[in-house]
């Protein structure tokens, strides 16, 4: 069958070539202009000649029946761009990399790219909980990187990925790979945008009305978590959690008692957050795991060591001690439904907190136990987990290779080359 098709295709090619030769011959003649015009209007006559030539060629060379090869491909109709459904739990959103614009959408079920949400470099993205829009907190200049700076939340339609509107804001931080500099609250009605100029503040935006509301000074704190009915909490340089009541005319900021050392054993500012339960899981450079329940007065539980939870010595700040440490640029991902934290771990010394992970540790946070260690074929720099019941772990490296693993078995399902090397986001409840 294969040979027959091949023969038929060969014959068709000869036929088409013959037809083109005929056309060239005709074009040399006095009717050239007229002929061109006819061609421009319709290709029917050309198609007819091509078909005739192909039939002749088939008769000469033999092959598949003439009727099957005689139907040429039809020209493509004018089509609208593809549209998307509302974001699904199997989708991931990958920033393409440092100073690279755009967020690529992939479906972890198929490993296929679904589209690109436009975004300036060093921007941040959030997903409308109603699934109707993607929000990009970004900064652009009127003349490329020169001219007047314009900071805004750009709103894209989730189905068409076309621009819906822009909401001007007075500024935002420029930094790579952070999940908590742009957060949504109140079922997606309010947005908070972190700013550093270099004094730190938060810009509050009413997304429903498409309006900037106010700037909240937030000295010494960053990395925000939405707190229902209150506003947000943030980590602070004195080792405390600040909680900001944003509703009143004057924002009210209260601080918890300091519970960690911001300079000696800092909490990674990419952490796990269950928005529905208002429960946050923090991880420090040495591997201490803190859980906190947020609210008007947050409560922080006693920490435990992830290394001890895996049966190895707890991490220390002491120099010269080689041990397993958490690390990388986006080094942990929290699966909300199961309460498992997936952490990129590496062997090294203290202050190696950006080193690539060589293993994924699956920590059952409530049980304080590492239930699985997954060795990686290639060291990874970022990790995310889909919030599906049968969750998938996604890791990428700085070369942009993305690997999808089954979170239950640790088995590699697929990989995508040049997927993007920036922050990975998932659809979160």
């Amino acid at each position: 069958m294969y040979r027959k098709v091949q023969a038929g295709l060969g014959a068709l090619l000869v036929g088409v070539l013959a037809a083109q030769g005929f056309r060239r011959f005709r074009q040399k003649g006095p009717g050239q202009m007229k002929m061109m015009k006819v061609q421009g209007k319709s290709s029917l006559s050309v198609m007819g000649r091509n078909t005739a030539a192909a039939v002749c060629a088939l008769a000469l060379f033999g092959g598949v029946p003439a009727a099957r090869a005689a139907d040429p491909l039809q020209p493509d109709p004018e089509l609208e761009a593809v549209t998307l459904s509302a974001p699904k739990p199997s989708w991931i959103f990958v920033e393409r990399g440092f100073v690279m614009p755009g967020n690529a959408i992939y479906d972890t079920d198929t490993g296929k790219m679904l589209g690109l949400i436009e975004a300036s470099e060093l921007s941040d993205m959030e997903i409308d909980p109603a699934g109707k829009a993607y929000y990009i907190s970004e900064s652009i200049w009127t003349k490329g990187w020169r001219g007047t700076r314009q900071d805004m939340i750009t709103v894209y339609d989730a189905a068409t990925l076309k621009l819906k509107t822009e909401i001007a804001i007075p500024g935002r931080i420029l930094i790579d790979s952070r999940k908590f500099n742009f957060i949504l609250s109140d079922q997606g009605k309010t947005a908070y945008v972190y700013n550093l100029d270099p004094a730190s503040s938060v810009n509050m935006v009413d997304l429903a009305k498409g309006k900037f509301i106010k700037k909240i000074e937030l000295p010494g704190c960053a990395s925000m978590m939405a707190v229902t009915g209150i506003g947000f909490s943030a980590l602070c340089s004195d080792g405390s959690l600040a909680t900001v009541k944003t509703a009143g005319a004057k924002p009210e900021i209260t601080r918890s008692a300091p519970f960690f050392s911001a300079t000696n054993d800092p909490i990674f500012d990419n952490f796990g957050y269950d928005r529905a339960k208002q429960q946050v899981v923090f991880l420090t450079y040495t591997g201490q795991v803190y859980t906190a329940k947020l609210g008007a007065t947050p409560t922080v539980a006693e920490p435990f060591s992830i290394q001890a939870a895996a049966g190895v010595p707890a991490g220390e700040t002491k120099p010269l001690v080689v041990n397993w440490y958490p690390g990388s640029r986006q080094g942990n991902a929290y699966h909300v439904a199961s309460g498992h934290l997936f952490v990129l771990m590496h062997m090294g010394e203290y202050w190696s907190h950006k080193a690539s992970g060589t293993e994924i540790w699956d920590l059952d946070v409530a049980a304080k136990k590492v239930v699985k260690r997954i060795p990686l074929e290639e060291p990874a720099d970022r990790i995310a987990v889909t919030q599906e019941a049968n969750a998938k772990i996604v890791v990428t490296n700085d070369a942009g290779t993305l690997v999808i693993l089954d979170a239950n078995t640790g088995e590699q399902k697929s990989s995508i080359k040049r997927a993007g090397s920036g922050l990975i986001r998932t659809v979160e409840p």
Partner: protein
């Protein structure tokens, strides 16, 4: 509008310090320090590390142990213990100078690095060079005592192009400020 005013902050700090101290108090503390000083070499920690020129724990990070003083186009150059980004020394600039056409940011994040030549700790200001597209050569990421965003002055991921005409990041320098 409330703006960041380091002068006012400095004045406030000094006034508070002056208000809470006295000359006699300082003299008595100095005297106490002088009397107590000879006791310190007797401590076991000091004796164990007495042979080394620097006794601070910083000297013992993995970076500090392999740092060198001769090639500032390599990530192992001693001043780069907390740098992140392209080295300006590889982009047409120098360890402490911007490449042609780029603008030095007046503010920066900082690091404390050990010079293996004299064993001393120095304060290094990582001043970004701005206004040109990313150089993308000799990318280094030193992480000694580098912290997270809530301590921005010790975080090396922030684009530190503040106060420059353009905020586009080109490369990073490592300017020596003084002994730490």
């Amino acid at each position: 509008m409330k703006t960041f005013n380091p002068d006012a902050m400095g004045e406030k700090l000094l006034r508070r310090f002056a208000g809470g101290t006295s000359r006699r108090g300082i003299l008595s503390r100095l005297g106490l320090a002088l009397v107590a000083a000879p006791a310190f070499p007797l401590l076991p920690v000091s004796r164990a590390s007495a042979a080394k020129p620097d006794r601070s724990p910083e000297a013992k990070t993995a970076f500090a142990r392999s740092a060198q003083t001769t090639d500032d186009t390599k990530c192992t150059y001693w001043r780069y213990c907390a740098i992140d980004g392209s080295l300006c020394a590889c982009c047409g600039g120098a360890v402490n100078r911007c490449p042609p056409g780029a603008e030095h940011s007046p503010v920066s994040w900082v690091g404390t690095c050990i010079n293996p030549g004299d064993g001393r700790a120095y304060l290094i200001a990582y001043r970004d060079c701005c206004g040109k597209s990313y150089c993308n050569k000799c990318d280094c990421d030193g992480t000694d005592r580098e912290t997270q965003l809530y301590v921005p002055q010790l975080n090396n991921d922030v684009i530190w192009c503040f106060g420059t005409t353009s905020m586009e990041y080109h490369c990073s320098t490592a300017v020596l400020v003084g002994t730490a």
